[in-house]
């Protein structure tokens, strides 16, 4: 107890010393814990980012469509079976629907411990031959079922077969049901155990009551024949789509906009395009032509809709093109009541009728929105929630449908990204944590050396080594404990300031508590060791009386240099090998592509090693050079007082200065690397966005607009704030490329060669064998030539110079196939997130097809800042009809599309956090170095003053030495930092679409250097002030 009180009193009595020791611990633990808190806070934002673009959280698609009232029942003849006994399995197929079920396939087999009794199968009491030796209900390896053909409404078929038990079975009811049934109309096999179909309305009601469900809305849609909607003797000129939903659905999916009118009982909504084509509006009558022999029905128009952005309605449900927006302009929305009473029977009848053909049957689905407030956690936690919800949804009236769980699929990808993110964050925090440990150890050394005299006095008074070590342990625990506590609080506070209260506190409380405990306990342990080890070493040395005189210890810089060199070479070789093996060339992650980011984090070690070893190497080389110079005849004469004293002080104690230089260089190196990386990150994100958008602004003609959009319209967009505009013909699979070997459907971009290059930046690295300018020139000089994507060219065995054929304007009435020469190959082309296969000359395209419309316009802003973009958009919006005729996409908006959820990470925020602590450490390291010098050399300074040196001369000596240390350290740090940043960039390359180039932000680096030097000047000034306050006689008399 006495020792504890003594230590506490000692810490309170020496506030400056205590504070100096605490600083390193607080900053170190602050950084460490802030990274943990940041990860917690970012988890929720990753989840939010991942699910934000989702149109539909879950879709439960019914697989028992109209006319498909087919069901299968299975029954075993015995409740229990002895080994060797046989029993009859009876399968009954019922068609309870109004329409026949076609291509009805029943599939079943006996599974152990039951075995099929060969030749026992019957259909409606008639034997059916086995296929091979197998049951005809499970044929061949693929297990094809028995096709019953068409099952008429209100009819039934019975299939039986016998099975023998190979062992006794207590309850046959416990055996799994294997029998399934499928039809042409109901492709997904339904189990024989499936309950009787539940109606969509009932299902919506049941699912809507499940916990975690925000909304469950029925949606029915069906593609109808061209011209199915008509009025005043006119029909819509294209395919028609009919939707069935109610006002609640429209409320839950606000992308469905009602332009006029609204949902009224007995009335329908029509799309704006339909209204325009038929020249009708609210209150008019519209006629819907039904399939089969049903008479057209006339309905009253209750309102006009704009569905051009209604993703829930038009995103593809097909696996091959899932979530592709497939807009149909001519649409009608009817209520469930109208659909059930007037439209569905027509489809039933048409589907059931002999000789009639219904190209498309209504699809019924339940669109489900998950309560997003439950997902306010990291993706791993959130996906557990959504999967539980999905299981509950599927468990409700199961067996007649399937569930598309978009939200869980998305979160599973985000979960992978989150795991990567955690490792990346920890990596980015690692160098700083290493620095913090170095600082703490440095502080520990200072603390220990400052207590030499006290320890000596205690020894004189009888304290043993054990007593001194106990005191050291208590002091260490106190400092590390308080420092870790304050550091954890600082870490939490700094993240709170950076992310905001709502974001950080949205993390799970358990996660935050866990991070706090890890920060506190981990930080305390690490810093305690860092404080205790130097203290113990010093006590041991004191007791051995090694400090009776301060020996001039030979500095084994050469030995250190060799070791450092070996480590550095190892790191460089590892990185070169990784580069050579293409370890950094991993595909970018994408939520849309269902692919997590794959960062080569195992390659993050070499940059850290290079950072440490590179800094040490340069510092040791400098030390050796200075030692060599100092040994020569260059020592200045003493009559040049300050320079000569300074020269001797530095060169003859270069080891001490090297320590300060290395510490400063490590801090600055990390800071420089972070500053460079931040710049690269920002510019790469911006470049990515611009690449995906094609330029700063991308205008796409609004599908609801009837206004023409010829290529010549581009010049109209050259308004204030817009420096260039170019038209582009581009749509998915709008061409076919034919080589001598093969042909393939392709996506062609026809560009205006006079303006495209001014608007969209083209990089030489995207083109193979020639520069971008050369490729564009070739396309201009040879209008009938094309540039081909290297991947497609490889598939078609095309090389530059080959002759090929291109089908221009595929799918239009003016499509035409023309010969084309392959002028060159490219790997990437801007403005096409979905990819471009062929680049053609717009003039040639228009010449051969006669098509004059553009699919999009790319515009470059005169000023690319957000203010400049706003100005350009304002000018554009002033154009007549601009808002209604064009969808505007900016580069920033584009970034949200097809990027990994990793981009949702606030990497910039983490870098700011790291930078903040790095700056703190830079200041702390410099201050520690200066005050360390002061503590070690205060007697020298006081002696110099006693000898007659002026106060300002002493101050200059302090400032010069610390300034030199800071300057050299900063210079080395900058050099190493830029090198390390280049490696950071390589590792994080998969986050970006375009390879990010290394950027060196001179102003930011200058600020960093100024901060370090400023800290050195301020610390020196403070140190000089303290020197002035020293009591000379006390110090000079000290032994």
């Amino acid at each position: 107890m006495t020792l504890v009180l003594f230590v506490l009193w000692d810490l309170v009595r020496n506030p400056r010393r205590t504070l100096a020791s605490l600083v390193g611990v607080i900053i170190g633990v602050g950084l460490f814990s802030s990274v943990l808190f940041f990860i917690d806070g970012s988890g929720a934002s990753m989840t939010a980012r991942a699910v934000a673009p989702l149109t539909l959280d879950m879709q439960r698609v019914l697989t028992a469509p109209l006319g498909g009232g087919i069901r299968l029942q299975q029954r075993l003849g015995a409740d229990a079976l002895d080994a060797g006994a046989t029993t009859l399995v009876t399968l009954t197929v019922h068609n309870d629907g109004l329409a026949p079920a076609n291509e009805v396939v029943v599939r079943d087999r006996a599974i152990p411990p039951l075995v099929y009794v060969p030749g026992s199968t019957t259909l409606d009491a008639k034997p059916i031959a086995d296929v091979g030796d197998s049951i005809p209900l499970f044929q061949g390896y693929a297990g094809f079922g028995l096709n019953l053909g068409t099952v008429e409404p209100a009819s039934a078929h019975t299939i039986t077969y016998r099975v023998r038990a190979e062992q006794s079975i207590a309850r046959t009811a416990d055996l799994p049901v294997q029998a399934t049934i499928s039809t042409r109309e109901m492709l997904t096999p339904t189990s024989a155990a499936a309950p009787r179909p539940t109606s969509l309305g009932q299902l919506a009601e049941q699912v809507g009551r499940l916990p975690g469900i925000q909304a469950a809305d029925p949606l029915v849609f069906v593609d109808m024949a061209s011209g199915s909607i008509s009025a005043h003797g006119m029909s819509v000129p294209g395919l028609t789509k009919l939707f069935v939903f109610d006002a609640t659905y429209q409320t839950n999916y606000p992308s469905i906009r009602i332009l006029s009118g609204g949902f009224q009982p007995g009335e329908v909504l029509i799309s704006e395009e339909t209204a325009r084509a038929l020249e009708i509006g609210k209150g008019d009558d519209v006629t819907l032509t039904l399939p089969g022999t049903a008479a057209p029905i006339t309905l009253r128009v209750g309102g006009v809709t704009d569905l051009s952005s209604a993703k829930p309605l038009f995103e593809s449900r097909q696996a091959g093109s899932l979530e592709t927006f497939q807009y149909v302009p001519y649409t009608m929305v009817v209520s469930d009541d109208i659909f059930r009473r007037q439209i569905a029977p027509a489809f039933d009848e048409a589907a059931a009728g002999q000789g009639t053909h219904v190209s498309s049957l209504p699809v019924e689905e339940l669109d489900i929105l998950v309560d997003r407030s439950l997902l306010n956690a990291d993706p791993a936690t959130a996906v557990t929630e959504t999967q539980a919800i999905a299981a509950a949804v599927l468990g409700t009236a199961s067996g007649q449908d399937y569930l598309i769980d978009n939200i869980s699929n998305t979160l599973l990808v985000a979960e992978g990204d989150a795991a990567i993110a955690k490792r990346m964050f920890e990596y980015l925090g690692l160098p700083a944590a290493i620095l913090a440990a170095i600082l703490t150890a440095y502080a520990g050394t200072l603390l220990a050396s400052s207590q030499r005299r006290e320890n000596a006095l205690l020894r004189v008074r009888g304290a043993s080594r054990r007593h001194l070590l106990s005191l050291l342990s208590l002091r260490t625990v106190a400092i590390a404990g308080v420092g870790a506590l304050l550091g954890t609080a600082m870490g939490f506070g700094s993240v709170l300031a950076l992310l905001g209260r709502s974001v950080l506190l949205s993390a799970a409380t358990g996660a935050l508590v866990r991070s706090a405990l890890i920060g506190l306990v981990g930080g305390m342990l690490v810093t305690a060791v860092a404080l205790w080890v130097p203290g113990r070493r010093l006590i041991t040395r004191e007791i051995k009386q090694e400090l009776a005189v301060i020996p001039r210890r030979p500095v084994s810089a050469w030995r250190r240099l060799h070791l450092t060199l070996v480590v550095l070479v190892g790191a460089v070789v590892a990185q070169l090998v990784a580069l050579r093996l293409g370890a950094f060339d991993v595909p970018a992650g994408s939520v849309y592509a269902g692919r997590s980011v794959s960062l080569p984090l195992q390659l993050l070690g070499p940059p850290i090693v290079a950072w440490l070893a590179g800094t040490l190497l340069i510092a040791y080389v400098l030390q050796i050079v200075i030692e060599r110079v100092a040994k020569g005849e260059h020592t200045p004469r003493l009559h040049r007082l300050l320079p000569s004293v300074l020269w001797r002080s530095i060169t003859r104690r270069i080891g001490a200065m090297t320590g300060g230089v290395v510490t400063t260089a490590l801090v600055v190196g990390l800071g420089a690397a972070l500053v460079c990386f931040t710049t690269v990150y920002d510019s790469a994100k911006s470049a990515d966005a611009r690449f995906l958008a094609g330029s700063d602004i991308r205008l796409t003609p609004n599908p609801t607009s009837g206004a023409p959009h010829p290529t010549s319209l581009a010049s109209r967009f050259l308004v204030d704030g817009v420096s260039g505009a170019t038209p582009v013909v581009y749509s998915l699979e709008n061409a076919v490329l034919t080589s001598a070997f093969n042909e393939d459907v392709a996506t062609l971009a026809a560009i205006d060669l006079h303006t495209f290059g001014q608007v969209a930046s083209l990089q030489d690295s995207w083109f193979l064998g020639a520069s971008a300018d050369q490729m564009m020139a070739a396309l201009r000089d040879h209008p009938d030539g094309v540039l081909v994507n290297a991947a497609l060219a490889d598939g078609l065995k095309l090389v530059p110079g080959d002759d090929a054929k291109v089908l221009y304007g595929r799918g239009t009435s003016q499509q035409t196939r023309r010969p084309a020469t392959v002028l060159g190959l490219f790997t990437q082309f801007p403005g096409a997130p979905e990819g471009t296969d062929i680049v053609a000359n717009l003039d040639q395209y228009q010449h051969v097809t006669g098509l004059k419309s553009a699919d999009l316009y790319l515009l470059s802003a005169a000023d690319r800042t957000s203010a400049g973009l706003d100005r350009a958009l304002q000018s554009l919006s002033a154009l007549t009809g601009f808002g209604s005729n064009f969808d505007v996409q900016t580069a920033a908006k584009t970034l949200d599309k097809d990027q990994s959820s990793l981009t949702a990470l606030n990497v910039n925020g983490l870098l700011q956090l790291d930078s903040f602590y790095t700056f703190l450490m830079a200041v702390a390291a410099t201050a520690m170095f200066v005050f360390g010098l002061l503590m070690q050399r205060r007697r020298e300074y006081v002696t110099l003053r006693a000898q007659g040196l002026q106060g300002w001369e002493v101050r200059r000596l302090v400032l010069a030495e610390s300034g030199l240390s800071a300057t050299v350290g900063a210079a080395i740090g900058m050099l190493v930092g830029v090198g390390v940043a280049s490696q950071f960039v390589l590792v994080l390359r998969p986050i970006f679409t375009l390879p990010p180039p290394l950027a060196i932000p001179v102003p930011e680096l200058a600020i960093l250097a100024a901060l370090v030097l400023g800290a050195a000047v301020l610390s020196s000034a403070a140190a000089a002030l303290l020197i002035g306050r020293l009591k000379p006689m006390e110090l000079l008399r000290e032994e």
């Binding site: 005189v549 301060i550 020996p551 001039r552 004469r637 003493l638 009559h639 007082l641 004293v645 001797r648 002080s649 003859r652 104690r653 007697r939 020298e940 002696t943 110099l944 003053r945 006693a946 000898q947 007659g948 040196l949 002026q950 106060g951 009591k1031 000379p1032 006689m1033 000079l1036 008399r1037 000290e1038 032994e1039």
Partner: protein
């Protein structure tokens, strides 16, 4: 060894011993818990070229007096006059300039600069005093002090006695008017101690330097011209020895 120490002075030449006059000198300072009066109305005069020993128990104010005489500290009250200079009223810069030329300090700890060789430690003081940086000049002094062969060694390569002799050389190299020694033999063995005292007295005799020695050692004090006894910050007695 009979060489005169004054031979080794630089161009500045000999500086006669300065007269020290202390009048009503008081010094107070605040410790962690109370106000301490280290010196209380001390008045004394040391004639030029005189050697003075200040004796007394620990904490009686001897070292404080020495620090005030050397201009290292400023008194709370009273006056310190060195020759024509009223040190107690001078600014720090002026006191520093005075210390360069007029004073030479020797302490119990050698206080040598660890990054300078023996020769440079001594040479730095001579340069500070405005003398030329001529190693040959100080080498003579080092030879006299029997440390000439150690000129290129660093302090941590010397014994305690050798270091203290270097400290004496540093204090005397510029021929100061006043030499102030605070327990100069406190950490030395008897042989080294005798050698250092002998050197100080020899300088005092040959250069006429005024010598003030603070010591516990009555034997050393007995070798000075005047012995002043202090207790509780006051001069309680003095003895003039012929």
């Amino acid at each position: 060894m009979t060489a005169r120490l004054s031979q080794d002075r630089g161009p500045a030449g000999s500086r006669p011993g300065e007269r020290i006059a202390v009048t009503g000198l008081s010094m107070e300072y605040t410790s962690s818990s109370e106000r301490v009066r280290a010196l209380d109305d001390v008045t004394l005069t040391v004639e030029p070229g005189t050697s003075l020993a200040v004796v007394g128990p620990s904490g009686c104010g001897k070292s404080t007096l020495l620090g005030l005489l050397g201009g290292l500290e400023v008194p709370t009250d009273g006056e310190v006059r060195i020759g024509d200079h009223v040190v107690s009223e001078m600014a720090e810069a002026d006191r520093a300039a005075l210390r360069r030329r007029v004073f030479g300090f020797v302490f119990q700890a050698d206080n040598l600069q660890p990054f300078l060789t023996v020769s440079e430690n001594v040479g730095l003081q001579s340069v500070l005093a405005g003398m030329d940086d001529e190693p040959v000049h100080r080498q003579g002094l080092l030879d006299v002090l029997d440390i000439g062969s150690l000129a290129h060694r660093y302090p941590d390569q010397l014994s305690g006695g050798q270091r203290q002799r270097v400290a004496v050389a540093r204090a005397l190299v510029h021929g100061p008017g006043v030499a102030l020694a605070d327990e100069p033999t406190g950490s030395l063995d008897p042989v080294s101690s005798e050698r250092v005292v002998e050197l100080l007295l020899r300088l005092h005799r040959e250069q006429g330097t005024t010598l003030v020695v603070v010591t516990h050692d009555r034997a050393i004090a007995a070798r000075m011209d005047v012995v002043v006894e202090m207790r509780d910050g006051r001069v309680t007695g003095s003895e003039v020895r012929s």
